[in-house]
């Protein structure tokens, strides 16, 4: 499984797209969902989103749902591979937070003593 060896950090856009696609959504809904989740901090540009979706489909981290053919809006959903990448990223982020907070606590401790 060559794909599973990938260790790089996901971009914020990719992280939130994968997160959103745990349930099927079309492009505009992804943008709205991300804006809502981040309280407006992350406003994904439609050009950026389009490029990211195409790249994610190519990597097979997400797939298009072909069920609704008459609907012009294409829906996407995360794949098994996408889920494992997302879980790996969550683990990486937890490690960042753990290390960051531990260092902060240690610094506080040394200042008091």
């Amino acid at each position: 499984m060559p794909e599973s060896i990938e260790r790089g950090a996901l971009t914020e856009a990719v992280f939130y797209i994968l997160l959103s696609l745990h349930e099927p959504m079309h492009g505009y809904a992804i943008m709205q969902n991300i804006e809502r989740l981040t309280g407006g901090r992350v406003a994904l540009g439609p050009g950026t989103l389009y490029g990211a979706i195409n790249a994610l489909v190519q990597k097979r981290w997400i797939e298009a749902l072909s069920a609704e053919k008459d609907s012009r809006k294409k829906e996407y959903v995360i794949t098994e591979l996408g889920r494992s990448v997302f879980d790996g990223e969550l683990g990486r982020l937890k490690e960042l937070i753990r290390n960051g907070e531990r260092t902060r606590l240690e610094m506080k401790g040394t200042k008091k003593s």
Binding site: T11, E12, A13, H26, G27, Y28, M31, E35, V42, A43, L44, G45, P46, G47, T48, L49, Y50, G51, R72, K73
Partner: protein, 184 residues
Amino acid sequence: MRKVVWKLFVDYEKEEKWLNDMAAKGLAFEDYSFARYVFSDCKPGEYIYRIELLENSFRNPESQQYLSFMSETGAEPVANWFRWIYFRKKAAEGVFELYSDIESKIAHFNRIMWLFFIIMCMEIVIGLSNINIGLQFRDGIHDGAPANFVIGVVCVCIGIVLFFPFNRTRLQVKKLRQDKLLME
């Protein structure tokens, strides 16, 4: 009411700013053909305009797919000129930037930079060869080819004018690449 304005831009960022200023005054940009802008009335500040250089030609299915995706997100393709495309979105629907991360901004600026670079080189090569033709045959009997000379000078001038947006885009890419070392 329809209003037609003739104006020629080399710099698409100034053009975009101008379109947004017009929209702020209540004039919504509707159609474009070379240097000719058509406006109609709108509520002041109703729309935000963005200009993009497409990756493929306008008629290419890839581009059409992209445009229909953009429409879904509320970005309406208003007009196009070759690969340049004008989008607008209702300002009430919130922020409108085509690209939100450094990588995709770099990709867009790179397309623009290469376009300016290629046209600039073509103008200069064509210009210089025309000047060369214009200066030949000056043997006392013939006085050269003045038309070629004039065309040549005009082409070289256009090439020089194009250097500025090319160089500005190049510097933008350079700055973004530096930013990218630190953030995404």
